[in-house]
């Protein structure tokens, strides 16, 4: 226990030498989901990625969730990301989004140029699709409007979005998603958010 001069205990160094991951890497590319959600601060896109990450954990997958934001608590542009993979995740930031969502025109215009044609895109219906958007698959859904009109609270837009995203991507089971949402919403708002989740799922026609 003491820092003794005599007992120099050499702790075993953590020397993880992994075999080259040649074959698994190509396979991993197919299963790796790189999700980027954008909007303005206060819309809850960070929480949306946290819920998706939580659902990923529930489903037994590796996840890495992070965000970038400006100094404003409300109104500034906000980018949140989550990577969901079958194998341990190296770089924790999204490089080539496989899924992108924008809730504001400003965020869409900012990030659209970096998206490949393979990226699946979900836009709020109120947004205008910029010409530079190459994505083959673009969903438009009234996320913000549904939150206000169908759910009855604008602030549930992020949960509506979560429902829609999972309906598009089939990331996790509805049950895992429900558990994840419930563990992250304030007490007393469970019913409201449950409704928001259902509304979101229905926005995407299977």
């Amino acid at each position: 226990m003491s820092a003794s001069k005599k007992t120099e205990v050499k702790e075993v160094k953590k020397t993880a030498t992994k075999a080259p991951a040649k074959t698994t890497a190509t396979k991993a590319e197919r299963t790796k989901m790189e999700i980027r959600l954008t909007g303005s601060g206060g819309q809850g896109v960070i929480l949306a990625t946290i819920i998706l990450a939580e659902a990923g954990v529930e489903a037994g997958k590796f996840v890495a969730q992070s965000q970038a934001y400006g100094p404003e608590a409300r109104g500034g542009s906000c980018k949140a990301e989550v990577i969901i993979d079958e194998k341990p995740i190296g770089f924790t930031k999204v490089e080539k989004p496989t899924f992108f969502m924008a809730l504001t025109q400003k965020a869409l215009d900012q990030y659209a140029p970096g998206l490949s044609k393979h990226c699946i895109v979900l836009l709020d219906s109120s947004l205008e699709t910029p010409e530079c958007l190459l994505a083959n698959k673009v969903y438009k859904a009234p996320i913000l409007e549904s939150a206000i009109k169908e759910v009855g609270k604008a602030m549930t837009a992020n949960i509506v979005a979560v429902g829609a995203i999972n309906a598009i991507l089939n990331l996790v089971s509805d049950e895992d998603l429900h558990t994840a949402v419930m563990s992250h919403v304030p007490k007393g708002t469970e019913e409201l958010n449950e409704k928001a989740l259902k509304v979101g799922m229905k926005l995407i026609k299977k």
Partner: protein
Amino acid sequence: MGKTVLMQGNEAVVEGAIAAGMRFYAGYPITPSTEIAEQSAVRLPQVGGKFIQMEDEISSMAATIGASAAGVKAMTASSGPGFSLKQENLGYACITEIPCVVVDVQRSGPSTGLPTSPSQADVMQAKWGTHGDHPVIALSPSSVRETYDLIIRAFNLSEKYRTPVIFLMDEIVGHLREGIEIPDPKDLEIINRPVKKFAKQNGLPYHVEEGEWVPTMLPFGQGQRYHITGLAHGESGFPTNDNATAGKLVRRLIDKVEKNYDDIVQCEEVMCDDADVVVVCFGGTARAAQSAIEQAREKGIKAGMFRPITVWPFPGRELEKLSKKVKKIVVAEHNDGQILLEVQRVVKNNCKVDFVGKIDGSVLTPPVILSKIEEE
């Protein structure tokens, strides 16, 4: 092993610290470390511990040391500007040998810089930030799970060697959420400071037993009275102007860390056995480097990664050995070349040393590191 839970790096600091026995936290809000204060405020009173939001960073460091002198494992956390303010009292903890853990979630500087952007530019500050010659132990995690384990180790080293331990995080890991399995508390090794009463009242609180590196410690209020001072002191704990006594103290403070290299220093080598090129990096940068070396391997380049887990003391012995086997080392860090200086000092002419850094607040990406690996 328990259930896997989604946890943020900053939260893992608090959960790991509580598992290590932290029962006191003093802090001041600052991005990107604020979640550590917030989580401590929630969690500590639940386990009978104390949280206090102090009036500034200086007093946070002071209160942390005070609590530890009263016998409670204590921690404070901050980021660049606040870490600068903590430096004087950090030196006080060094010379008085009061254990504590100081977390620095690095952000882009200098000064206020880019508060929400990652950086690793406090490496040299962690070593030389407080004035005077002094020992430094600084640990840097590269995942949320490692954050949990390593903060426990930070407390253990701090208690064992009676020295402040710097937990050098970065925004990448601090704000990253990953799924982690929380270990069973029964499986954890927890080290507590060597507590022992002195031979007599007002005895020799800084007397070091033959064969030991640090004196035993009796918290305030436990039946023996003694003096603690930031002035140079002998084993009585009282100030002295005697050069020999002062020199002996500083020598021991440095040696208790440097001479226990094998016990303290940790590093990780990934795919280094057959590597021609090795990326040297620490903390959050290792995540990009991991992807970069995997991509290099796919291209047929034998790449590996060497990661200091203890940034200080720097794992120079291990790196020196490695540098004799490889053709090139690429140092990757979110600064303008700080660990680079240590690498150059250690590697000398054994192999080529290249550098790739970031000073604009953006994140080093795998392709950027990969292109450095590929460069002739």
